[in-house]
């Protein structure tokens, strides 16, 4: 894919959704030539690696847990990775099907997606294809894909929020169930990307219903995060800041999802900046903030050194302001009807007075971009010159923090530790410390055991 930047006709330029016939015909635009072929080849490699990786994750989590690590003792991060891998294994093969048929249309002259196309007055030989078929296959992957991006971030945030709140995660089982429900629902909502394809209004209503159902498990997760933070002994580390930032984006981006998921409302704002604002906040910024939280939290585990806190706070505050500065005004652009994917909006008289909003967005995006340099510097500098980390700097319960700081083959010297309890025994009444690692047996914590814990 990177190579395609250097070829004469340029990289694939059909957008990430690569709808045919735009992406299928080199005559449509230069980017649909060699650039699109390279794009599809790298996609095939990506699908294969995602599948192999996903299969490996599932088998590892289910089959190779350590002694005592029952499914209901898994940290939520691992639950999120497991469910993400399941989504990948179920949805990527369908993208593979869509992409393979596109390859055949492009390179072998078949007509899966092409029909009745005239170029320069000449009819192409393709007959009988359906471009809507591609959209169905594509979005059957495309919607689970947004949860493939988001769920790992939610999992990382669950761990960071519980640890840095010094409180058990609120509603552990509800968190697991809501992720499973989100995963299930993600497979029956793909039509909400296709309300404008001439879909039967009744079918549109069905997809609206399934789509709005996702609001329920999502709200369960949000309320659980907030309930975990409620009256907690919050340690406002950079990781915690980013995790709270994720919750903020998940709420503000999720609310606009309710508008977009409604087939009647979507007609007005389809393909406008409103959509861009929605998904960049709820899935783009949320996912990236979750990953930042993960990096700041697990950096000591990865490199045995701490990241600089001050730089972390500066990075967080500039980024969160910049992200809202970029995407919040876009809602208003979208409501005013400014379409996405246009090269120049100022070519249209009616969008001229949107100029100042676009200027604000541009400035904010540049500020946000520069802030990431702070992170990059912090990351690489701390890798070599950061303060040496203790074995368990955050007072965390999960077992990765029981491995020695020096990296060993197999992580632990000798036996892999056995797990005796769930991962969220923080601030347990009667306990000696405000955390009890998963490796501590109940027999050693007589003072804090709840009824039934022996």
């Amino acid at each position: 894919m990177m190579w395609s930047v250097f070829i004469e006709t340029g990289p694939a330029s059909g957008g990430w959704t690569i709808y045919p016939p735009l992406s299928a015909l080199p005559q449509a635009m230069p980017g649909s030539g060699m650039g699109m072929t390279l794009w599809l080849v790298s996609m095939v490699l990506f699908i294969v690696s995602a599948l192999l990786g996903g299969i490996n994750y599932i088998a590892t989590v289910i089959n190779l847990r350590t002694k005592g690590m029952s499914m209901m003792r898994l940290p939520l991060t691992i639950w999120a990775f497991l469910i993400t891998a399941i989504l990948g294994v179920l949805s990527f093969p369908v993208l593979f099907a869509a992409a393979l048929l596109l390859v055949f249309d492009r390179s072998f002259g078949t007509s899966f997606y092409l029909s009745d196309i005239f170029i320069g007055g000449e009819a192409l030989h393709n007959s009988g294809g359906s471009p809507i078929l591609f959209q169905h296959l594509f979005w059957f992957l495309g919607h689970p894909e947004v949860y493939i991006v988001l769920l790992p971030a939610l999992g990382l945030a669950s761990e960071v929020i519980a640890t840095q709140s010094r409180k058990p995660i609120f509603g552990y089982k509800a968190m697991v169930v809501s992720m499973l429900v989100i995963a299930f629902l993600s497979f029956i909502v793909w039509g909400h990307h296709m309300f404008m394809t001439g879909m039967n209004p009744f079918l549109g209503a069905v997809f609206t219903f399934t789509t709005l159902l996702i609001a329920i498990p999502s709200a369960v997760k949000v309320f659980n995060y907030i309930a975990t933070l409620w009256k907690a002994n919050i340690q406002l580390t950079p990781a915690m800041c980013f995790a709270i930032g994720l919750v903020s984006f998940f709420i503000s981006g999720g609310l606009t999802g309710i508008i977009l998921g409604d087939s009647a409302l979507d007609i007005n704002i389809h393909d406008t900046y409103f959509v861009v604002a929605h998904f960049h906040i709820v899935m783009g910024a949320s996912a990236i903030f979750g990953m930042f939280a993960g990096v700041y939290h697990w950096f000591p585990r990865m490199f045995g050194r701490m990241m600089n806190k001050t730089l972390g706070y500066i990075h967080f505050w500039i980024t969160v302001i910049a992200v809202y500065g970029v995407f919040f005004p876009m809602h208003f652009l979208g409501l005013a009807g400014v379409p996405r994917r246009y090269y120049s909006n100022s070519a249209y008289e009616s969008f001229m007075d949107m100029q100042n909003i676009n200027e604000l967005v541009t400035v904010m995006s540049m500020i946000g971009g520069v802030a990431q340099l702070i992170f990059a510097f912090n990351f690489f500098y701390s890798m070599f010159y950061g303060k040496k980390s203790e074995q368990n700097p955050w007072g965390s319960n999960t077992i990765e923090w029981t491995a020695p700081v020096e990296h060993l083959h197999g992580n632990w010297p000798g036996e892999i530790p056995t797990v005796h309890r769930w991962a969220y025994d923080y601030s347990k009444p009667g306990a000696e410390h405000d955390f009890i690692p998963q490796t501590t047996p109940y027999s050693q914590t007589k003072g804090s055991n709840l009824p039934g814990e022996e």
Partner: protein
């Protein structure tokens, strides 16, 4: 000292990890073919669909692959009973039937071409080539596994104590059998 861990033994669930990997892999293959066949239905519902008769060779293929599934299972049972002579015979027979299936599929494609149904043309024909072609591609993977398993069977490396390799090969082979029967019934009767 870190010890070498055998991921097939002493697992949390008691299921060998390779077996679990194979089953999850099978699920993902099922999803790919579910994608293709639902695409087939959606596309067919839109009209402009050329109808044609399926070559008889596809029926013959179906019978061949059913027989190969049977011999595969017999080879596995023979290994479990430490009956090495039968195991060798059945493994080699399965390999032969697998190759015969591939040959029969190629023959069927030739018949299709003779009847004027090409890969490039109306999607009804293109879909048939894609479905049967991808199935053969997956079957080639199965044949490679079968060659390895046959060689190991001849070397008498499998026995009642150690039969995971041939068991997994048999599982995948039965899956390919069922997948073909599904595709055949789907194209011939359901769709």
């Amino acid at each position: 000292m870190a010890t070498v861990i055998d991921n097939d033994k002493n697992t949390y669930t008691g299921i060998p990890t390779s077996k679990m990997l194979l089953w999850i892999g099978i699920v993902s293959i099922i999803m790919a073919f579910a994608g293709f066949t639902s695409g087939y239905i959606v596309r067919k519902a839109e009209g402009n669909w050329v109808e044609f008769n399926l070559p008889r060779a596809f029926t013959i293929s179906t019978i061949i692959i059913l027989m190969s599934s049977f011999t595969m299972q017999m080879a596995y049972i023979a290994v479990r009973k430490n009956n090495f002579k039968n195991a060798k015979t059945f493994a080699i027979t399965t390999l032969g039937l697998g190759l015969a299936f591939v040959f029969s599929q190629f023959y069927a494609w030739n018949v299709l071409v003779d009847n004027g149904i090409f890969f490039v043309g109306n999607p009804s024909g293109s879909f048939l080539y894609v479905l049967s072609g991808l199935h053969v591609l997956h079957l080639v993977g199965g044949i490679i596994a079968l060659i390895i398993v046959s060689v190991k069977t001849i070397q008498e490396k499998y026995n009642s104590e150690n039969s995971l390799g041939i068991e997994l090969c048999a599982t995948y082979w039965h899956f390919l059998d069922l997948l073909w029967i599904y595709l055949f019934v789907f194209v011939a009767y359901l769709a």
